[in-house]
């Protein structure tokens, strides 16, 4: 394990972790305001990659335009899921919404299998992301660095939205006390719809970048990253968007390092996130940056 390899893997880990973080933000926001684990979130990310894919291949859009359209469509998808499947169950016991979330997740996966086919498709990686940079003995794909930068920029935007806008204040209020918020004259459904849209849009960006990095998309690709992103959100402190990204980075780095130091364990890399979840629950259930959310 040379120092070069270490740094290389560190940056790879940061890249992967950023992607987890982008998806985790959506999870943590929805859980924060609705106490709902949106199982469909990973599959929403998968749909974004297919939207972008078809934008590029069928509609022949330039990649950046396809990405923008895909992000917008994914945000719309997220809102539709909320309004169609979760909103009727706002008053119902939580288990109902969880079951419905599973149902939506399964629906998206299998509809994608039927409509898009199970054969993986190759995703276009734009020219700007292709070069491999070499310096000081380290080789890094430029995309990885761009992913980290884009994530930082988006994190800043999330900070601005959540802490500096009225909608953000409404979101924070809903996460404190959902039932008092309508009494203050705030349209609860609009806040929730916005949260879903925002979270889904971020997951879409993460998904498209993921598709560029691991340039293969298939209908079941969202399951494992979705699961890991949720673990990242819990690790960082659920309900806290910074925690989500932090958790994502930690998970990404440790996962890459695990495989780098012990290559024979690489088959177990997916299991590692689960182990991390159990450890978090045992030692620090509120997560790193979590506040104790009222039950």
């Amino acid at each position: 394990m040379t120092i070069h390899l270490f740094f290389q893997q560190l940056i790879n880990g940061l890249g992967l972790g950023s992607l987890y973080g982008l998806i985790a933000i959506g999870y943590t926001m929805v859980y924060g305001i609705l106490r709902l684990i949106n199982f469909a979130h990973g599959d929403v990310m998968m749909m974004s990659t297919y939207f972008a894919f078809f934008g590029i291949s069928i509609f022949a859009l330039p990649w950046w335009l396809a990405a923008i359209v895909a992000v917008a469509l994914t945000a719309l998808l997220g809102v539709t899921i909320d309004q169609g499947a979760y909103r009727p169950l706002r008053q119902a016991p939580r288990i109902s919404a969880l079951i419905t979330a599973i149902g939506v997740s399964f629906f998206l996966e299998n509809t994608a299998l039927v409509v898009f086919g199970s054969r993986p498709r190759a995703f276009y990686r734009p020219e700007i992301f292709r070069p491999v940079w070499h310096f000081g003995g380290i080789s890094i794909l430029s995309l990885t660095v761009y992913v980290i930068l884009i994530t930082l920029v988006l994190l800043f935007i999330v900070y601005l939205v959540v802490y500096k806008t009225r909608m953000g204040m409404a979101m924070r209020a809903v996460s404190r006390d959902m039932h008092t918020v309508p009494l203050m004259g705030i349209d609860l459904n609009r806040v929730i719809a916005f949260t879903f849209a925002f979270g889904s849009a971020l997951a879409a960006v993460g998904g498209i970048l993921w598709a560029m990095k691991y340039p293969q998309i298939e209908p079941l690709m969202g399951i494992i990253p979705g699961l890991k992103a949720f673990v990242a959100a819990v690790l960082g402190g659920i309900g806290n968007v910074f925690g989500a990204v932090l958790g994502g980075l930690i998970l990404g780095i440790t996962e890459i390092m695990l495989v780098a130091f012990w290559p024979e364990l690489s088959g177990y890399r997916d299991a590692f996130a689960f182990l991390l979840l159990i450890l978090v629950l045992i030692f620090r259930p509120t997560g790193i940056m979590g506040e104790d959310l009222p039950e």
Binding site: I99, I102, G267, I278
Partner: protein
């Protein structure tokens, strides 16, 4: 004497005579089921016997899954994990050393397991116990803290089991799986297990433990205030569910005689979820009814995936994978429009049956 001062009717809800009648009726019903099985063994064809076996396994799984999801109200996604554990454990225990040698062609089996070969029943129980052990290990951190995360933890655990089974070449034979498992399972075993599971869980639910579980479901804080240790009760329900699911997995392994990690995917859990939702979360009777309907119905739905010949004039091509989309739509529709399912939280009881025919007669004093 006016009716107002008459003593409480002797033929009360829990009177000895009534309980004895109910127990005898249950026993008679069980014997009837066994009788039907005997007839089936001799007269039904292989396909029907296979369906009957699967129905029994589904009943066992649905009723145990409903214990944690419906009756205790803790949403979990564990069945595929525990079924896998029970299947692998029991298969590895019943296979003879020679069979193991034939299977483990890439890497030899771990010496500890290679030499063991035990009879069916202990292996089934061992499968259940292994599953229960893992349930205990998982439940401890989860239930102590945030029950919400049970679903993700169990979902993750299912993935872990699959990953581990795929990689642990010397124990599980990796992606190749285990072939040639002795077909010990027959109608007696599967339905025997189903009846035992039903017996245990019905008795549990009708006892003070069951009432405590339901209290935890209704309102955990209030239950704790009444002195119910919700952590212990949730753990009890979870472990018991895992035990029966593991044993059902053992039955499954020895029925289909070939298991591999790909067999125990989330799809199995999803099917069970549909079953207990449609049957009624919290109703054992509902789970049984829905399990039977599901086993039957999913065979019918296979038609959707085959080309359909319409009046011999043209064929609608089969859409592979459509079955699962339909299942997903059914689940979502059920949650939105028919959350109670068939039975809601009601149960079948002999009293109800007699109430249909008896009416006012049964309330009279002797």
């Amino acid at each position: 004497m006016s009716t107002a001062t008459q003593p409480h009717p002797v033929v009360g809800r829990w009177s000895r005579a009534r309980r004895r009648r109910n127990n005898l009726l249950s026993l008679a019903a069980s014997l009837l089921v066994l009788g039907i099985l005997y007839l089936a063994r001799n007269f039904a064809d292989e396909y029907q016997i296979r369906i009957l076996n699967m129905v029994a396994i589904y009943i066992t799984l649905a009723v145990s899954y409903n214990l944690i999801n419906g009756i205790t109200g803790q949403f979990s996604l564990e069945p595929n994990a525990f079924v896998a554990l029970g299947a692998y454990t029991s298969a590895l225990l019943t296979m003879t050393p020679m069979e193991k040698e034939m299977n483990f062609i890439i890497d030899p089996c771990v010496p500890l397991l290679a030499g063991i070969s035990i009879p069916f029943l202990p292996a089934v129980i061992a499968g259940g116990l292994v599953a229960a052990l893992f349930a205990l290990l998982m439940g401890f951190p989860v239930f102590r803290v945030r029950g919400d995360y049970l679903a993700i933890v169990t979902l993750g655990f299912g993935e872990v089991i699959r990953v581990v089974a795929n990689n642990l070449q010397t124990v599980t034979n990796g992606p190749l799986g285990l072939k040639g498992i002795a077909p010990y399972t027959n109608l007696w075993w599967t339905w025997g297990l189903a009846l035992v599971t039903l017996f245990v869980i019905v008795r549990l639910v009708n006892s003070s433990y069951g009432r405590a579980l339901k209290a935890v479901r209704q309102n955990e804080v209030a239950a704790e205030a009444m002195g119910i240790n919700s952590f212990r009760h949730k753990l009890l329900a979870f472990t018991l569910a895992a035990f029966f699911e593991g044993m059902a997995g053992a039955m499954l392994a020895h029925l289909i005689t070939t298991i591999s990690p790909m067999l125990f995917t989330f799809f199995l859990t999803f099917n069970l979820l549909i079953i207990i939702v449609l049957g009624g979360l919290g109703s054992i009777t509902g789970s049984v009814i829905a399990a039977i309907a599901f086993a039957w119905g999913s065979e019918l739905l296979r038609a959707v995936e085959e080309p359909i010949n319409v009046f011999g004039m043209f064929t609608i091509p089969g859409i592979p994978g459509m079955r699962m989309v339909i299942f997903a739509v059914i689940l979502i529709a059920a949650m939105l429009f028919w959350r109670e399912g068939i039975m809601g939280r009601r149960e079948f009881s002999w009293d109800w049956l007699f109430g249909l025919t008896g009416g006012k007669k049964n309330r009279r004093t002797v």
